[in-house]
Symmetry: C2
Subunit: 989 residues, 2 copies
Amino acid sequence: MDHIQHHACLLSLAVLSCLFMTIEGDACGYKACTDTKDGILNVHLVPHTHDDVGWLKTVDQYFYGANNSIYHASVQYILDSTILTLNQNPSRKFIYAEVAFFKRWWAEQSATMKAKVKNLVNQGRLEFAGGGWSQNDEAATHYVAIIDNMAYGLQFLHENFGTCGRPHIAWQIDVFGHSKEQAALFAKMGMDAAFFARIEDVDHDLRRVEKKLEGVWHGSQSLGSRGDLFFGIFYDHYSPPPGFCFDAFCDDPVIQDDPDLFDYNVDDRVSEFLEFAKKAANAFQTNHIMMTMGGDFEYENANEWFKNLDKLIKYVNQKEESTKVHALYSTPACYLYALNQANKTWTTKDDDFMPIGEPNSYWTGFYTSRPALKLYAREASKILQTCKQLGALSGVDVNSAFLKDAVSIVQHHDAITGTEKQHVADDYAKRLAMGIQQCQISLSDVISKLMLKTKTAPAPKLEFCNYLNISVCATTQSTDAFSVTAYNTLACEVRDYVRIPVNGTQFTVMGPGNKNIQYQVMEVTSETKRVRRDKGSTTHELIFPITIPSVGFSSYLVTAQTTKQRSKGDGSVPAIHKAENSNDVTIKNDNLMLLFDGGTGLLKSMTNIPDNLTLEVQQSFYWYNSSEGSNPYQFRPLGVKAIPLLNKNVNLTYIQGNIVEEVHQQFTPWLSQVIRLHKDQKHAEFEWTVGPVPDKSGLGMEIITRFETPLKSDKLFYTDANGRQMIQRRRNHRDTYPLPMINLVAANYFPVNSRIYIKDDEAQLTVLTDRSQGGSSLVDGALELMIHRRLLHNSGGGLNEALNETGQYGDGLIVRGKHYVILEKPGKSAKVHRPLGLQVFAKPTLLFSHLVPDWRSKYYTKYSYLNTSLPINGHLLTLEQWGQDKNNVLLRLEHPFEVNEDQTLSKAIKVSLKKLLASVFEISDVQEMTLDGNLPISQSTRLQWNTKTEGQFKEDLRYKTTSYGKQADVTLGPMDIQTFLLSVKPRKP
Amino acid sequence: MDHIQHHACLLSLAVLSCLFMTIEGDACGYKACTDTKDGILNVHLVPHTHDDVGWLKTVDQYFYGANNSIYHASVQYILDSTILTLNQNPSRKFIYAEVAFFKRWWAEQSATMKAKVKNLVNQGRLEFAGGGWSQNDEAATHYVAIIDNMAYGLQFLHENFGTCGRPHIAWQIDVFGHSKEQAALFAKMGMDAAFFARIEDVDHDLRRVEKKLEGVWHGSQSLGSRGDLFFGIFYDHYSPPPGFCFDAFCDDPVIQDDPDLFDYNVDDRVSEFLEFAKKAANAFQTNHIMMTMGGDFEYENANEWFKNLDKLIKYVNQKEESTKVHALYSTPACYLYALNQANKTWTTKDDDFMPIGEPNSYWTGFYTSRPALKLYAREASKILQTCKQLGALSGVDVNSAFLKDAVSIVQHHDAITGTEKQHVADDYAKRLAMGIQQCQISLSDVISKLMLKTKTAPAPKLEFCNYLNISVCATTQSTDAFSVTAYNTLACEVRDYVRIPVNGTQFTVMGPGNKNIQYQVMEVTSETKRVRRDKGSTTHELIFPITIPSVGFSSYLVTAQTTKQRSKGDGSVPAIHKAENSNDVTIKNDNLMLLFDGGTGLLKSMTNIPDNLTLEVQQSFYWYNSSEGSNPYQFRPLGVKAIPLLNKNVNLTYIQGNIVEEVHQQFTPWLSQVIRLHKDQKHAEFEWTVGPVPDKSGLGMEIITRFETPLKSDKLFYTDANGRQMIQRRRNHRDTYPLPMINLVAANYFPVNSRIYIKDDEAQLTVLTDRSQGGSSLVDGALELMIHRRLLHNSGGGLNEALNETGQYGDGLIVRGKHYVILEKPGKSAKVHRPLGLQVFAKPTLLFSHLVPDWRSKYYTKYSYLNTSLPINGHLLTLEQWGQDKNNVLLRLEHPFEVNEDQTLSKAIKVSLKKLLASVFEISDVQEMTLDGNLPISQSTRLQWNTKTEGQFKEDLRYKTTSYGKQADVTLGPMDIQTFLLSVKPRKP
């Protein structure tokens, strides 16, 4: 017996000692950093790969290494290979960034391999950097998708690797310019820094000289120090020093250190390395520099990199006594930590890094490139929010995995930017479509069940019409009795208008309260028919107002009137008028009046009726003539003048109805615009249709809409950052460095994700967009937005393809989109454009069904999950089941106003979470999380930095665990987003 | 105490069980073969890499992966990577061939890594194939170097891996044609088969149809079945099936097997594979086929190959029930074993596989390409033999490691072939030079010590003159009193002539017996001055006969005569005569008389005086006009006619002296010839000097020497294989397939390594060469040899460089060389050319020294290690210290005659090893080894094969351990080489 026990003891001791070794040896993050040397230069070598989640090839082609004739890249092998070779030498380190790829690889791994990888992560030998699903673009992205992209990436890392999997730093190394809002969002995620390579060349040159490549970025005036983020710009791109690429696909000289063989080159290689290191060190503040040892899709054969880096480190350090240079394997986090320990005082940065490029070569084309994909990405993100919200509220498994993957992938800096090859853009669209379809099936399922008054009744068959913008809907086309159910994700009642393709002119529209709803019927325009081609055959559009409760739905029952009924109909088809005798034309509603020049057919003025504020506004379309240098990235017009698209006068017609008044303008056979005023809206809707852009001559056309006013804008204009804070732009100017006075059209373009405005003391003209576009103000009082680009010349480069979207029919992509135009006094503008911005993004989801008898007795026609609303300056940004546990719900609340933007609405708000969600959940625990939702704020300790600008932004950077009281009352300041993980028990519906 | 013991017990049990597992798991060679399936097609997938030991890059550049802009290849990573990934899946297998690379890699590995590799080898997961130092060419190589190349490779494997490291098969996959002698040599090495890819296209097509890609090759008529070798020709090169290259540098579609990702392609890939497998299977006899899964420098990232092969095997075998196709990891040896087990009757092959190519594209240019390198390689091999012999005999460490490496590397099929880039050819030459220098330092050290009569005296300082062929020698140029020591490796007394650059005309030459030696002095010709340029300044050449004992040396002391002495001098400078009045010119010695036409200046007839045999022989030089398709590999003349180089008549002078008679012919300013008859030699020496070949117009010139006679050769001519057996060639004919009647010049060229002859019943004209050349007989009675090629056109292809050797001075390479011409009756020819062939290769090594006083009292002037000789039909091929133990000596004895070649000399000989070596060694043990010297014959059990041609070649293939008797008497039949490992004790000298 004694012996047997002894066996057992030995065995368990062995097992224990194994376990113990692993545990004791574990140290990740800053704790895992290799020691550096005092008083001499420390060169942090950071092995990394940059894996685009699609660009020249699709994401799955890149993953598997398919389609290698286009470009050789195979992420599966990169990960195989680095794991294998990290295990060969414990001092080696590697960082990985793109979770979309990592997740694909992880799914194919055995438990043994997963354990190996976890071990590496736990020891800080494999470290994640950035950690978003993709390395998102910052110029053409919307904050909702940015947050999702980061949240899903970090969630994956959290679920599989725990705390050690969580990156300390953002890693935006290839992104084409850097947004201030993104910096604030990263700060809110608990990131300690962001590293990147691409800023404007003049800026970069100056920062090198002034040793300002690193510093503290004030990411948000509203958030103060909570929006501060340390930033590090690389000395020279994210590649290794020239001559030191040891990738299998590089030709730089490897280190040949066997003296018995020919061409021994250790001394030469070390000298070259030291020379570069010393030169680079001159551009930095501390005795630490970082060298990014890697590049695009490198480390497919990691052994080649590591073997040579091992040798480089060995031979460099052999001489460190005399050279005073020490090399080490490191990570960006460890480099950052060394900077932090250096205890320097850092300079600060207030504006953003937009745009990038150099004179004659500004990367401002991609703000608009592929406008259809840009809209589709925005809409998909909205659908995803809807699915997540309904999933969390209903407790039903809403199938949004594919859409999450797709939406996040599409935020990639060669996806939504439009800078990918056509087949890759098609792949992105396909992914979005598949994700949307999957999600919509779930949505219709959840909502149809929600509508049921008795569980036993058959649920209505709800369908989606995804082509309403071109007047196509299978359901309404095939019946004259249908329901329209509109779901609203916003935590407030929403009023909107629907516009539905129908065959007929006389209808009965019954609202949820069983009340007749006023409607208007209009002929499908010839322009819409041109655009929809063979996709639909309806003759008319039915327009009526809808009202939807906070987080809920309303159903409207539409029945075509019989001839008998028709006499007492409320509907009518208003006549289409042609502008006659050059008389000016006016359309108006209670809030706005628009005046059109009877001669030119163009908008002439705009009046805010309640405020009695009139502004002369001329709006028209122009085009820039592309040069050979124009490409999906760069906007390089041949001249500085935009050329009018209009030869003579606009062909103008107008319609005055009881619901909506419209002006129809035909500029060219391929460019038209409808300007609308809905009955009680405070904005005018400018719906433009552009395409196919002619491709018969020249190098390409870049189409803009331009608003010209007498506003004394004094060189200033304002563009939003990622749909949130506004950035003041000054024409022909950068805040921190002299702008070379060359190519001042492209250099003055900035990203517009949701809005752009100009103003003077009296008035502000704000234009909201439905997607990201490039925009500018090239003369005082004017603003312009680029809405489409068609480039016929392949300017070569990495992409090696012209941005010539030929579209489904091969003749050129047609794009239809909307601008929402607001004229208000400056002080009252935010009050209008902030809520409108939320509504434009979160427009109601429409579901259609054939009418069945006794609809009202079977189905609810109105439902609100919340039975309460947030104030106008509070926004229910996210409601989402979190992780595998159905009782975990992630909630994000947003304050959509900036500090000082509105006298009242910029103030902090207080929300009681328990009250807000009282009708759906019983909340047992509330934990405030970092913005991504994966780390309790209480565990997020960010590094602190000394800056020269004391005071203003200074406050304790460490979040404190707050007690939220019995009702879980939370307070949100301007521009804040707060993220809570709720433990909930659903209440019986 | 009990507990402690118990601990120890547990520990040792654990250790034991580990050891036991390893031992039990070990099984290499045929024992390690994976099971195959009966009744269905087995596809043997053989992962392999083909690593040229220099071609586009130098061997060390290939090893390290330097110079990758020329061509990406890095052997270090190939080996890193395969070892790493073999360890990931025990079913994976890999073969490696080139030991020159493997040895470089091995030298850099840790003990741990070496143990891992040994484990893989012991389990048959890593298997060596071929195993030569390089994968030697078979057309331009000499058997001495072929044997060394294989012996050193196999020795390395034996020393590091024991029996499991020894390949079962020869692996000549990329070699440009296959020699019959090489087959016999492989058989003598105990190889079970040779696999290769390249044979003539017409042959290949026919063999596919007739299922004759595999069979038994009768490698030697003299050796019978001991020279038989199974051969396997690949279905289609040594690459994978089209579309199935999974290398990192291939673009074929990888297997995408995650159904959740886009582009799942498993079904497609499996179908394609099966289609190819079934097609290929039609060309073979058994239900096994081999697929070579690899290529040039592939597996640098072995994971990519193995990962996809793992999947391929998995998915192919999932369907094997229905498809009747089974895939498995295998090796060529395992494939061979499966063929052997199939117990088929195989067809046989009697001729060789020379040349390769197809109509209009014959690979017969490389037989001559880079003639200077070809000679240098031959000379280096000879120097190596000398070093090894002296090392073994003296017991001194002779430093030949570098030369062994160099000589073996240069046998590579892109080295001695001349098909490498110029910088690589330079690298080979540099390696040979470095090896020679190292070796020569040792040689002069050993011989100088051997010369010492008293140990205390200072040894003479012996120096080498490596440029004697252009009349350059530093020692003799700077003194008028010097010694010439000649060392002879042959086991017989050798008589030869030396020709030494001197400044003066009157000398005293004293031989070893202190006797005056007759000499002749001649002016350095203007042609030699042209060729040596600024390298030397001597005015005269001193010629005298030398006699050297068997395996020993003789010294000759040369002193310039004083004016006084001069009157009684034996020397003279014979006058140079110009041919006058078109009178014919004659030169002669006791054996030969040559008659030259006084008009044309060309050789007119040749007479064998003792046999009273006269043959009209006209000899002149011609050139073929290169086409655009000519390249280092291919000889593609523009027309079928060789163009005479001579415009009018040769400028002819002649010299008649007491030692040598010479005719000097100047054909063009850049082509000349000296024809010599030394006093008592049986051959005439034709020394041609060619170059710089004009490069001002055209695509290139390919220079030949042609002998035209009235011999009724009846389309037949004979060329040697690798310096040994003669192969009968028939013009415009192949033995086993119809030769397309296109480009019949190039198609009729064959490799000549040492000799070519034509004959009729009366006479045989034999020409021996000093190096490998291409040769042919394009009309009856004529034979020609290509001596130089200069190609001006880069015909692209893999090499992408013209064969335009510009040489050291930039104007074009000058080549000087010798043909040794014999006219004898056919039955008496072998008796002359066989010994001459040995002497041409093993010409005496000359060492020079300034004369010091009392030379004879200080130094021996004659010495023989053996004090005995072998008969004329016995050759001491090798004497070499073997392995690390100084008491192990490898001895090879060769019978240089073929069966039936000479009535007397073709008979078997009997040699007593103990007697032969009695004066140097006491032999304690004699073990007969395979030809390479690494495996006792007793352990070599070759596979047996049934063939259709019973009888003639049939005998027991298994060697038996023979008892050699007290004197270790051994018997050698014609063309045999026997290899013995001797345990010796050196006798005191």
